[in-house]
């Protein structure tokens, strides 16, 4: 498999450590190298957009510029793609890329700002979400090493918002299915539900708990026939895991944790003990 530049983002180094741990373990097992971008900083999350969109753009641009700086470890080869597991980071980097590509004056302005750190951005790299990479760069039908197939397990694939919208790249945002093939390859069944692309409330869960919990409750209640929810966003995972007391409780795993289990990767290499839904037990086969 190819190598990727890796942008983990703040939550994967803190409250979503297990996502970072399991992405690394899964990608390594699939034969991919991850080169973490040197000196990366926060992408601005949802805060920048609500306070100062100029800062948001600059934060995205700085990270793109750093990525471009180390994008060609081998000058003979094509530049690497940027792999981003967090949906909010993915969207921010992609938006910055999009805006800077479209608007030359903006790019010049930002490059002036970045020149203080001897950086500049040209916007030629591809920013890709983990789900994009897993669904398009891996051939799931080709006998991957699933030594522990999760037979009898029913999974609710939960995509959330920002990996699907507004940029439609690798899946249909109205009715996403990119996780189906992987879940089935792992031996499990996919729950037929229509909450996969719904919103978890994002930061409303912190600042307006009633609004956030209402959305989380709807998702959890609709997943009551599943053994677990599988997700690809740290914000979604945290919201779904945290507000389980007022709804039907369901364990919430990150996609690479789930796939890793089926591939027989050890639980601690998947960070499973760090999930808040303690002792997630999914035994297959």
């Amino acid at each position: 498999m190819k190598s990727y530049l890796y942008y983990p983002g703040c939550s994967l180094k803190g409250t979503a450590k297990e996502y970072d741990i399991s992405v690394t373990a899964l990608m390594t097992s699939l034969g991919a190298d991850l080169l973490e971008i040197d000196d990366w900083t926060c992408c601005g999350a949802t805060a920048a957009q609500a306070v100062d969109s100029g800062i948001g753009l600059a934060l995205g641009a700085r990270n793109l510029a750093l990525a471009e700086k180390n994008s060609r470890p081998d000058p003979e080869k094509e530049p690497l793609d940027i792999l981003v597991p967090c949906s909010a980071c993915y969207l921010n980097l992609k938006t910055a890329q999009f805006d800077l590509e479209k608007d030359k004056a903006k790019r010049e302005g930002i490059n002036q700002v970045l020149s203080k750190e001897n950086l500049s951005v040209q916007t030629h790299l591809k920013v890709r979400h983990l789900l994009d990479v897993l669904s398009l760069d891996v051939d799931w039908k080709k006998g991957l090493p699933f030594s522990n197939p999760l037979e009898g397990i029913k999974v609710a694939p939960y995509y959330g918002c920002q990996c699907l919208r507004p940029f439609t790249v690798f899946d249909n945002p109205e009715s996403p299915h990119s996780m189906d093939e992987m879940i089935q390859a792992a031996g499990a069944q996919v729950l037929d539900w229509d909450m996969g692309a719904q919103c978890c409330g994002a930061s409303n869960a912190t600042t307006k708990p009633d609004v956030g919990q209402y959305l989380v409750g709807k998702i959890l209640d609709n997943a009551k026939d599943a053994h677990c929810i599988v997700t690809v966003c740290p914000m979604c995972q945290m919201n779904l895991e945290t507000y389980q007391d007022k709804a039907h409780p369901v364990p919430v795993l990150y996609l690479p944790q789930f796939l890793g289990l089926a591939m027989g990767i050890a639980r601690d290499r998947l960070g499973l003990e760090l999930n808040l839904s303690e002792n997630v037990q999914l035994t297959g086969g």
Partner: protein
């Protein structure tokens, strides 16, 4: 509050939003798609109408725009291809700058979040939440988050660190951007 009574920079931002939603045909797809609409007293469609007819008094008397969770359903589905989530972001910025007080908690949270990023480059969650509780001036506030905080600490996912001093890692970047924006 007519737009002309607002400070100039706010007028410029309002003009930006107006331009963003200029071709709205009032079809209501955005409101029908919004997962937070039932918590809003005025809907997204109504907000765009108020922007276009200069009824900022009505728009900012409501906190509807602060309910937006940036899910991008409206942006995806608008038949005119308008960037509505971004427009909501602009309204949040205007609301925060006008210090309307109708979105105190999120304004405070987002502002502290960015301060945190300016200082360290990356988010330090414990310090951010600590400052958020202090800023809310509600001694009971931390209690509702305590169980979550304790489990995160136990799992080593967050760690208390001494607050940093000095200009901060991204101070130059922030300053340069704000200089360019003329803030």
């Amino acid at each position: 509050m007519p737009v002309t009574d607002c400070p100039e920079e706010i007028q410029a931002s309002v003009a930006k939003v107006k331009e963003m939603v200029r071709s709205c045909i009032q079809c209501g797809t955005c409101s029908a798609s919004c997962p937070n609409a039932e918590f809003m007293d005025i809907t997204p469609r109504q907000m765009w109408r108020m922007v276009l007819t200069d009824r900022l008094d009505l728009l900012f008397a409501s906190r509807s725009f602060t309910m937006c969770s940036s899910c991008y359903w409206c942006t995806l589905r608008c038949p005119r291809g308008l960037e509505l989530t971004r427009a909501m972001g602009e309204l949040k910025q205007i609301g925060a700058r006008l210090k309307l007080g109708n979105s105190k908690k999120s304004d405070l949270f987002y502002r502290l979040f960015l301060d945190n990023v300016r200082q360290y480059g990356r988010v330090r969650e414990v310090e951010l939440m600590g400052r958020y509780f202090l800023g809310m001036r509600n001694p009971m506030a931390p209690l509702s988050y305590a169980p979550l905080g304790i489990s995160l600490l136990k799992k080593g996912k967050i760690k208390p660190e001494l607050p940093g001093r000095g200009p901060g890692k991204l101070a130059d970047l922030f300053e340069a951007v704000q200089h360019q924006e003329g803030i």
